[in-house]
């Protein structure tokens, strides 16, 4: 049986419901196993997609950016983007390509069937293949498929419909930066393993703190006992700032965004008065629920831990 609320669960995990609708759906969630499962599955899909790490960019961003700025400001006609195998070869070249391709397929087949991890020294000595010989083809690069039919927001978007052909942008190995170079960007998209471990642990600790905070019970009219949560949030907020900067610097957008969302909540808990009222606590609880941050912390710490295993 399909519960009719499943679509709303999708909106709930995206925080696209109004506060009232969100409350209603959350109440429904308490009694509907199917929707609980849907939410868990949707969050799991999110976790898989956000844990996806790009194979690139592996070369210096500094170099790529410098090229773009240089090409962009020169306004000179630039070389076209390289294509894969040259289909514009003549028949003889095509035949030769076919023979080479067959040899490569045979090599792949042999290597795949005997696939064993080679010794590190051999691996290091093996050269990486070059994608294509430079200048094998000189077709202009494509224009964007189509410009959007109309601007979605006023005053925006000069579409690059007739933009000039773009240059070859295949990454090239970059020597170490010379002193005084203009840009100082990181070359690695993912932070070091230490930072990832710390982030995973931080997510876990924050999740425990937020769960504990969520369970703070206040009798009407009395003050809440949040000494432990306050102290813990004060400890975590500094770590959060450091890890967020680390994630920003290493281009780990997923962790950085989550840390960015977490930070104001930790700050609010850390800055609670000694004797907070029911309302003080409830406001933060509502924000935690609205941002759906506890499940996000859970899936992200699990994803990071899996990646580090």
């Amino acid at each position: 049986m399909k519960c009719e609320c499943t679509e709303k669960i999708s909106l709930l995990v995206d925080e696209e419901l109004s506060a009232n609708d969100a409350k209603e759906v959350e109440r429904h969630l308490l009694n509907c196993a199917e929707c609980q499962q849907a939410r868990a599955d949707f969050l799991s899909v999110r976790s898989e997609l956000s844990a996806f790490r790009s194979n690139g960019p592996q070369v210096s961003l500094r170099n790529e950016l410098a090229k773009i700025l240089a090409a962009g400001s020169s306004q000179l006609p630039v070389a076209p983007r390289r294509r894969s195998f040259a289909w514009s070869f003549g028949p003889v070249a095509a035949f030769a390509t076919l023979i080479i391709a067959s040899a490569i397929i045979a090599l792949i087949f042999v290597r795949s069937s005997n696939k064993q991890p080679p010794a590190n020294s051999q691996v290091a000595a093996m050269p990486s293949p070059q994608p294509v010989a430079p200048g094998t083809e000189a077709k202009p690069s494509p224009e964007p498929e189509e410009s959007p039919r109309k601007d979605a927001q006023k005053g925006q978007t000069k579409e690059p419909k007739n933009a000039p052909p773009a240059p070859s942008r295949r990454p090239v190995p970059v020597p170490t930066p010379r002193p005084g170079e203009q840009f100082a960007l990181n070359s690695e998209p993912v932070g070091p393993a230490d930072a990832q471990t710390m982030t995973a642990t931080h997510f876990e600790k924050s999740e425990i703190l937020l769960r504990s905070f969520r369970n703070v019970r206040i009798e009407s009219g009395s003050v809440a006992e949040v000494k432990y949560e306050k102290k813990r949030a004060q400890q975590l907020v500094y770590q959060n700032m450091i890890l967020r900067r680390e994630a920003d610097a290493s281009g780990d957008v997923q962790s950085s965004t989550l840390l960015e969302n977490l930070e104001p909540i930790l700050l609010d808990i850390a800055n609670l008065p000694e004797k907070p009222t029911e309302n003080d606590v409830q406001v933060i609880k509502d924000r935690v629920a609205r941002k759906n941050i506890v499940p996000l912390l859970q899936v992200n710490s699990a994803a990071l831990a899996r990646a580090l295993d």
């Binding site: 999708s10 909106l11 995206d14 696209e16 849907a38 949707f42 899909v45 898989e48 997609l49 844990a51 996806f52 790009s54 690139g56 960019p57 961003l61 790529e64 950016l65 090229k67 773009i68 700025l69 090409a71 962009g72 983007r81 894969s84 195998f85 289909w87 391709a101 490569i104 397929i105 795949s112 991890p117 080679p118 590190n120 093996m126 990486s128 994608p131 494509p142 964007p144 498929e145 189509e146 959007p148 039919r149 109309k150 979605a152 925006q156 978007t157 000069k158 690059p160 933009a163 773009a166 240059p167 070859s168 942008r169 990454p171 840009f183 960007l185 998209p189 281009g251 957008v253 990646a307």
Partner: protein, 178 residues
Amino acid sequence: MASQDDEFTKLFQDFYPGLCRFLECLLGGRAELAQDLAQESFLQLHRTAWGTLPVGEARFWLYRVARNLAINEFRKSNTRYRLFDRVVEVMSPTARNPEQEYETQERKELVLRMLRTLPEDQRVALLLREQEQLSYREIGAVLNISESKVKVDIFRARTALREKWTHRAKTVGAGAKS
């Protein structure tokens, strides 16, 4: 001029890795092509729209152009890349920890395989939501579609992926038992 370049540098620093990841998922794992297209998008931004675009719009502009460039690539033959990609995969130096690398690669390929089964508009909408954390309104602006279409596309994409994952979990579970 210097400050414009500084702003562009900041934009590049903030969004280039994310744009590469988005394109790589969209293109079924062709990382080098993804980098090419990401750089091309930034180049076009710098040449044609930088300076005229409101600050907050540059990101959406980039994703819109990148997605259009990716669609152009879809329309060309996909097959010509397959052999080359396979060569790169086989010839590439292996990581220091082959087991871990293998698992990560498996996982990535599974995600890419499943994403490939989704219709293109659903895939783009879902990636913009899950990886780039754009709101429905922002996704609508990038793709030039209504928010309700974004809502439906994302829901359908999620439901399809969910079914595939569940089906796969059952198949793997059954395989492990037998």
